[in-house]
């Protein structure tokens, strides 16, 4: 796919977000509220015990995690019902008559969406949080760079997950309830609410079989310094392997799905 075209579509999608400024304000409040609730919960929980360390997290570490995982999660905001809506109203037809890859156009649309949320929501939320909460981030240039790479990999995984979920509309058309379920599943199993370290033992084998932890949890642990730089490299390797696996699933599903696709409404 032509990079120039990709960037053009990122900017179209970004501009579209700009038109919903009110949504954005609501989004900041909403995001900050989450941060506030989670950090308050952790503080309350930690104050119940004498030990200062739980599952390897001090209170500062867990608050930092809560703020940053939220920052990453908000930056990864994308509209997971895009494909579903295009199938529902049949407008997907108008995209398929163009000599462009459906996957990459979808990715570009997501990136534009996410960039907007990153600038309009993540940045203010992180700035407020840094003042309000006790946060510690080890500043190392190398760590920061690896974190960014890991975030990009995590982002691609989230986008692929949404692509796969959206493609189910080719078979089932009405998948909205499923998307809600997927969202809840993703938020939890990616470590978006509680770090994976706090998961009960019986869930861990399942978590390790799934790609979700590589979407939010691992990138965040790199930034907050829980993963050493050596560990960070193997995290990125694992992310790349998952990108290959999920990419293959995307391809297979697309190949099978286009045979199933029907266009609603004439």
């Amino acid at each position: 796919m032509n990079p120039k075209l990709f960037l053009k579509f990122v900017s179209v999608s970004f501009q579209k977000q700009v038109t919903y400024r009110f949504d954005c304000f609501v989004g900041i409040v909403n995001g900050f509220l989450y941060v506030f609730i989670f950090t308050s919960l952790w503080k309350a929980l930690y104050s119940q015990f004498d030990t200062t360390m739980h599952n390897g997290y001090t209170l500062t570490a867990i608050v930092t995690y809560a703020v940053l995982v939220m920052a990453v999660r908000i930056s990864f905001t994308m509209d997971d019902s895009i494909i579903y809506r295009k199938v529902m109203d049949g407008s997907i037809a108008m995209e398929l008559i163009r000599p462009t890859s459906f996957f990459f156009m979808n990715l570009a649309e997501n990136v534009g969406h996410s960039l907007f949320h990153m600038m309009a929501r993540t940045v203010p939320i992180v700035m407020i949080s840094v003042f309000l909460f006790d946060i510690y981030i080890p500043f190392e240039v190398q760590r920061l760079l690896i974190f960014i790479v890991s975030c990009i990999a995590g982002y691609i995984l989230v986008s692929m997950m949404n692509f796969i979920a959206g493609l189910l509309a080719f078979w089932f058309i009405e998948i909205f309830p499923f998307l809600l379920f997927k969202y809840a599943f993703y938020t939890f199993f990616s470590g978006g609410i509680v770090p994976i370290d706090f998961f009960p033992e019986f869930l861990k084998p399942l978590v390790n079989l799934l790609p979700f932890q590589y979407m939010l949890y691992y990138p965040t642990t790199i930034l907050i310094g829980r993963a050493s730089l050596v560990e960070a490299q193997s995290i990125i390797m694992a992310q790349l392997i998952w990108i290959v696996i999920m990419g293959a699933i995307c391809c297979l599903m697309w190949g099978a799905g286009k045979k199933k696709l029907i266009i609603q409404g004439g």
Partner: protein
Amino acid sequence: MQQGNIAIEVKGLSKDFDVSESGKGFSGKLKALFHRRRKIITAVDAIDFEINRGEFVGYVGENGAGKSTTIKMLTGILVPTSGSAEVNGIIPFKERKKNAAKIGVVFGQRTQLWWDLPVRESFDLLRVIFRVSQPDFNSQIKKLDKALGLDPLMNMPVRKLSLGQRMRCDIAASLIHNPPVLFLDEPTIGLDVLAKESIRNFLTEINRDEGTTIILTTHDMNDIEQLCKRLIILEEGKIMYDGETELLKQKFIHEKVIEVEFHDDGNVIQGIPGVTVVREQGCKTWLTFDNDNYGIGDVIGTIASRYEIKDISVNEPSVESIIRNIYNTRVTRATPSEESRNK
């Protein structure tokens, strides 16, 4: 072109739709996996045709005949249930993107423009998508503007355009890369007389000057009569006529209408073989005659010799009336069609 003179080749092309009642929604589909009581509609039923480069073909049929479904298969949106198709030597559903680069498509009831963007920006995106060079783009836009009057619309967001304005922009959008083959699915719905006229002129022009192959689906038989030398009529997914538009008249018109005007009223025409009076009003009488067995010359000669007539004319039926006739006879001929289509 490796395919020489053939622009589109279709062989045994079929598309089935699963319209099972139980097949709706997530749980319905899951249920349908277990007990397979299915209701299938064959929207396009083993059709064959070949279209040469530079042809202007009308693709008509009643609502639900399968026209749009055919076009969706030829544009690579839908994968056929069976059969094969090639457009510009490319199999659309195997190489959708490659095919898309060489065709233009307009679906009248949808837009391929970006709803929130000004028309100009939509065109510019299409320029990048179709990899059209800036000079080629500029000259093409100039040409399209001249034919379709785009200039006043260029800075308007698409959502603010009227239906006819949007349609003009959509037609222009489909031609930005100057494709050799153009698919138009009802491009004239909702257009006023003048807009229709300008679009028709424009289509005639690109077909003649650029040699663009055009497949046009429409319910406006004037479009067909004015534009399409060749006509394909689809009926319940099957081709029931494929040939010159002119020849349609010979094939389906077994009666012609003669209008006779006398100097005064009270004249009664009778006893001429093959002729039936359909209506009398004042000095005028309308007759039909059996076109297959009697010559028009003989009939007019006989009438003229027996009666004092002021004027006589033979009305050529319009394509519209012929097609209306074809549709009508189908309705009276067979009604259990739904059943026969549910395999």
